[in-house]
């Protein structure tokens, strides 16, 4: 069953076509990686899917319903969770409070004006802290967490709303090998009904986790396939893995 999909998605900034006619289908439980050189439009595509940006053209569907014109908030309520390329957390709060804010939205009553704590929310926070390897660090202020810990917390915050589609933008950026290994384990252990789309530059991680890979280049989809197909494709090697001419990265290829 398809959860998230988009058809002919475009986004123009002036003359620049940052995202140019992208079609993407995420079946339920898929593990889909998005790779491509810097400036390929991966993050822009993420923002279009999550609703932070409006597309210039194209449609986006969630469970068959058209969500192209829904605001980011509404899409989040419908089950699209995301993490950002640069950590986006609540800096004055403790780690557990960050997760609680996210969990409270779907499991608790975030508008309740009297002091109280929801047992289901508390449980969820503890469980997520453990799941991302931060148990015992719940009381630590975010400001005192290491970069790696913040990335883990990001994932926990995104998971706390129980998303059906999870968009992770470079979750392993700047992580040590040990931290990457833990993150990889966490992602591999995600519930099977969550569809995952992630941007990643660490190709080992991509080939380990993904069942489908989409390669983007200059805003368009260069190829889509299994990790094996992508790994051996000469086109991808030329555009991304670096055997081609450097200017190929910046110039559109001639139609053949």
């Amino acid at each position: 069953m398809t959860t998230l999909s988009c058809v002919g998605l475009c986004r123009q900034f002036g003359a620049l076509r940052a995202v140019d006619g992208v079609d993407l289908v995420l079946p339920e439980g898929s593990r889909h990686a998005l790779i491509g050189p810097n400036g390929a439009g991966k993050s822009t595509l993420f923002r279009l899917l999550a609703g932070g940006l409006r597309p210039s053209a194209g449609r986006i569907f969630l469970d068959g319903g058209d969500i192209t014109h829904l605001a980011e908030t509404r899409r989040a309520q419908l089950g699209i969770g995301q993490t950002f390329q640069h950590s986006s957390l609540f800096l004055s709060m403790a780690a557990s409070e960050n997760i609680r804010l996210a969990a409270q939205r779907s499991l608790g009553r975030p508008w309740w004006p009297l002091p109280c704590s929801f047992p289901t929310v508390r449980e969820r926070v503890e469980q997520l802290l453990g799941a991302v390897g931060l148990s015992g660090r719940g009381e630590a202020p975010v400001a005192s967490l290491s970069h790696g810990e913040r990335r883990q917390l990001e994932v926990a915050v995104a998971l706390a709303t129980r998303p059906r589609v999870l968009l992770l933008d470079e979750p392993a950026a700047g992580l040590s090998p040990a931290e990457t290994a833990r993150l990889s384990e966490l992602i591999a252990g995600l519930p099977r009904d969550v569809a995952l789309l992630f941007v990643e530059h660490d190709l080992d991680l991509v080939f380990r986790l993904a069942t489908q890979v989409t390669v983007m280049h200059l805003g368009a989809v260069l190829m889509q396939g299994t990790p094996e197909e992508v790994r051996v494709s000469p086109e991808v090697q030329a555009a991304y893995l670096g055997t081609g001419q450097r200017e190929d990265l910046f110039l559109p290829r001639e139609p053949e």
Partner: protein, 315 residues
């Protein structure tokens, strides 16, 4: 900065001691200091209501005097024309503050940062102009005078003591309610918006609605403080709801330390003392002293008086 709500045992104990002292103050204080103390409490409630917006939600309003003024005029008008019941005038004041805030807030909270500040300033000035020109209701630049003393059941709040106790009990209930809200899931949501509005949106929070709710809540309690002003001053002038009041309230919040209700109270006390008591003995140079204090606090105590008084282990 610690973000945990200040509802722990130690601060509750301090609050109880302070409250007891305030409650018995009229028994030994002469009437002039008692009036000053009344004024401090009224102003502190205004500052606390503003802190909900500035400190907790991250919305620096420069027009908060308008909701204070709306409450004051409404309470005064109701006392003159309809009823002298203390609780009713207070409720009307609160409702007026909330209604004014709902109208202004539905426009203002769409804007961010400096634009929000400027919008609240403009809306505040419009309210001030309205108070100046709506002769029949506000009395224009003469103000609304001849406000009768209100009564609580059979007790007429005529003496400075009676007024003080009424103001004190309203102040305490107001601060208690706002303290509860600050420590609630709703308060947590507001702090989330202050920290990272974009992330809240991405988590599925309807940020606009929460900001508007905070604005209205804040306006309601500013209106309540205005109602107390009408009760103890028995005169309301356009200046009471003007830019001066708005600025001083923002001063109080920043001097006290944002997102600390007790800090806002301390800041309010300092502002009123310098303006009214110290200023008078310095030949009207109160504003100058206030300015110096403000600069000093911003440089020396970045998290305000409350931050300086907080025990080291919580910093």
């Amino acid at each position: 900065m610690s973000s945990t709500p200040a509802l722990n045992r130690r601060s509750l104990a301090w609050a109880a001691i302070l409250l007891a002292t305030l409650a018995v103050a009229p028994l030994w204080l002469p009437s002039y200091p008692l009036v000053t103390l009344t004024r401090i409490l009224v102003f502190a409630l205004l500052a606390v209501s503003l802190d909900v917006l500035v400190g907790y939600t991250g919305l620096p309003s420069l027009g908060h005097g308008a909701y204070f003024g709306a409450g004051a005029y409404a309470a005064g008008w109701v006392a003159i024309h309809m009823t002298q019941s203390a609780t009713l005038t207070l409720l009307v004041a609160s409702a007026s503050g909330a209604a004014a805030a709902a109208i202004a807030g539905s426009v203002a909270v769409r804007a961010q940062g400096v634009f929000f500040l400027m919008l609240t300033l403009a809306l505040g000035e419009m309210a001030h102009q309205l108070a100046e020109s709506w002769q029949e209701v506000t009395g224009g630049s003469n103000g609304l005078y001849g406000i009768p003393a209100v009564h609580l059941g059979t007790i007429v709040l005529l003496s400075a003591r009676a007024v003080y106790w009424w103001v004190l009990s309203t102040f305490v209930s107001g601060v208690a309610v706002l303290g509860c809200v600050a420590a609630s899931p709703f308060g947590e949501t507001l702090r989330g918006i202050r920290d990272n509005e974009g992330r809240m949106r991405a988590l599925g929070y309807r940020v606009y609605h929460y900001k508007l709710a905070a604005f209205i809540l804040s306006g309601a309690f500013a209106g309540m403080a205005g109602g107390l002003l009408a009760t103890h001053q028995r005169l309301v002038t356009p200046a009471d709801g003007g830019l001066g009041t708005s600025t001083l309230a923002l001063f109080a919040v920043i001097i006290g330390g944002e997102a600390s209700l007790s800090g806002a109270c301390l800041g309010a006390a300092l502002v009123v003392l310098i303006r009214d008591s110290l200023g008078a003995s310095l030949g009207g140079r109160g504003p100058l002293v206030l300015g110096v204090v403000f600069v000093a606090v911003v440089y020396l105590l970045p998290s305000g008086l409350a931050g300086a008084l907080r025990p080291a282990w919580r910093r």
